[in-house]
Symmetry: none
Subunit: 209 residues, 4 copies
DNA sequence: TATGAATGAGAATTCATTCAT
DNA sequence: GATGAATGAATTCTCATTCAT
């Protein structure tokens, strides 16, 4: 119950002195801000303030605003990756629906997807983004077709599905367009299932219908 | 005095003395820049330079950067509107494919769609954007179902299709993700047709297949 | 009663083509704006708009904003001069009261006094202003003392009176400080008379009382 | 690093790292510039340069140019207030003379008076200015008449005296009109005493004789 | 490790002025 | 004589970043 207070009135516990935690906090705030407002419209001061730390720490831990963005993107890529590792065709729609409709605890993944649409203007980082989007569509194609090597048409179809996911995330974000913004998991699941069924060839190579 | 003519056929003569044309030029450049880079990342100076006119003319003709953005959006809304007026179910896929895959002359419509995803931060303007996206999805639903009044599920389905369109435009823009970025009209037409067939109920209210 | 209208719908009478009149209009508007808002806070566009003419005409007729200001000042000096030519001691208070309290038709002289307190930043013009203020105080001293050559003390006393006039004009301008802003001619006359009586030596050189 | 010391004793060390001092410096410079040149003619860059600090600090400490002006005015109001708290009739002339004629150390009060005549264009701030001028004249009236509640005529008379003070400050500022610009404390004292004696009723309500 | 002071570059906007008609 | 188009210079303000403590 004792509150550690130094003689001069400064509470030692008030200012958390934990580099790793500070870094994580900044990253978390940055991800959601970059995802929601885009790179250019987000100021490092906003991020630092919201994270409750000093702006200078962004330079300290991430070298620059762009470094912070890249770190966000890398984190997003990891998140997206771990959530698509074990993708199975019959699972895809349900998982998408769960993640897109999910409440606060799934927000990070939705931010990750939004982040994949945000550019900082840096070409190298954009290359990263595009590579991940490409790889995501490959995963999708492979999962749907049972991991057969995908030809271009199948890839394009998977990318259309990916486009749908991205587009839906966008239409739902920032409370934007109704009724899809408030659509529940069930209906999303249903529609995604029909979408995949219609567009992506089944493992045996049979036509979607 | 000096007439500056760039290699790619763009002619920017100093001192044009044609207000309407200058306004149009600024608008055209602004639309493509805002669409490509977003509002915050685009500077008015860039726009003016690319249009070959003095920055002050943006204030003159559009009052402010935000005014210019709004004018772009209004134009985009008009374009999207006139291109979806006479939509028929059997026509949707073909038309989408044509516009998305089309070369330079169709770029304006693609920019219009990108613009509908860009925010300037101004709430009023954002309201406009959202209203148009909503209205677009209604048009889509009505065209697909034969103009019957759409219930929420149908609207959601139409919005998923709209999401697909937006997502695909985004994946294709700035030469980004292959192979969909270079996919031809035929394959897009085919996939969109399957998509609509699968997701949107037919006029007679029968199941999509 | 006929309205002269050319074939193309442009009314020939609408745009007055009279250089001298245009010049006068600009000058009149400029005087009141410069007097009220000061040099820097007044824009040439404001002046031209209020005068109902094109901004470029200011450059045409007065070379520059500073030229316009100087013209205003010159006019003000003339006005002040003609109104103080025939000053008699027993007349001063009444005349001051009349001009300061006077309604719209006396506004020009009040503007002239305000103008004498406004600087454009140009040293030469400031020299002019100061010279006129000095000369004004000399006139005041001469009128009060019966044109005897004034020594420094008398001049200082006259300048205090001049200061009073300027200060009162300022306190009354822009509807500012009550109740002096709405004080009538009578009370002003009374107070100015007491002021002059108290501060300025009589013609015979006797003490003010 | 480099310590820049100008010949006139002003020391501006780069990187002072003392927020309060920097704020004070900016305020001091701003007060004299606004007082001398007016709001519109003064640039924030000038102020910052003269204070030896970066322009951005004006936004930091005062939010905006207008905020800086308001801070100047508030300071001026305080100064004027503390210098008129304990005003006694027999003291007024001497105190005015001392402050108006006083050398550098009294410049701040003279600037305060000039500031009370300068407008930033902001209505709220102008309201402040006018309120203070009114209150100043009330203090003057109360001090002169022995704090009896002043009727309008007495207030008007006090405002004429205030006008004299303001007008004299103006005629003396920027070395303008001679000989009053260089008039010494004695003569000013004498004239102000006569002025107050003539215009403001004595405590017992008797005529100023 | 963390903070707040300070900076410089760049952004949007305003404004006096010039030019072509 | 008059107009509106266009310009360049300046002004205020914002922002990422660096520095001293």
């Amino acid at each position: 119950m004792a509150v550690i207070t130094s003689a001069d009135g400064e509470t030692a516990s008030r200012r958390r002195r934990n580099a790793a935690q500070t870094r994580r906090d900044l990253l978390a705030v940055a991800r959601s801000r970059f995802a929601r407002d885009g790179y250019a419209a987000t100021t490092v001061r906003d991020i630092a303030d919201q994270a409750g730390v000093n702006v200078a720490l962004i330079s300290r831990y991430f070298a620059s605003k762009e470094g912070l963005f890249e770190a966000c993107l890398t984190g997003a890529i990891t998140d997206v990756g771990t959530n698509t590792d074990d993708l199975e065709r019959d699972d895809i729609a349900a998982r998408l629906a769960r993640h897109l409709s999910g409440s606060p605890d799934r927000v990070q993944l939705r931010n990750a997807l939004l982040l994949l649409m945000r550019s900082s203007g840096d070409e190298r980082i954009d290359g990263l983004r595009h590579a991940v989007l490409r790889s995501l569509s490959e995963k999708l194609a492979n999962a749907a077709t049972g991991r057969a090597p995908a030809d271009d048409e199948v890839l394009i179809r998977a990318q259309v599905v990916l486009g749908t996911v991205l587009g839906v995330v966008m239409l739902r974000s920032t409370g934007a367009v109704q009724p899809i913004a408030d659509a529940g998991e069930d209906i999303l699941n249903q529609v995604f299932a029909e979408l995949i069924d219609a567009l992506l060839p089944r493992p045996d190579g049979g036509s979607p219908d």
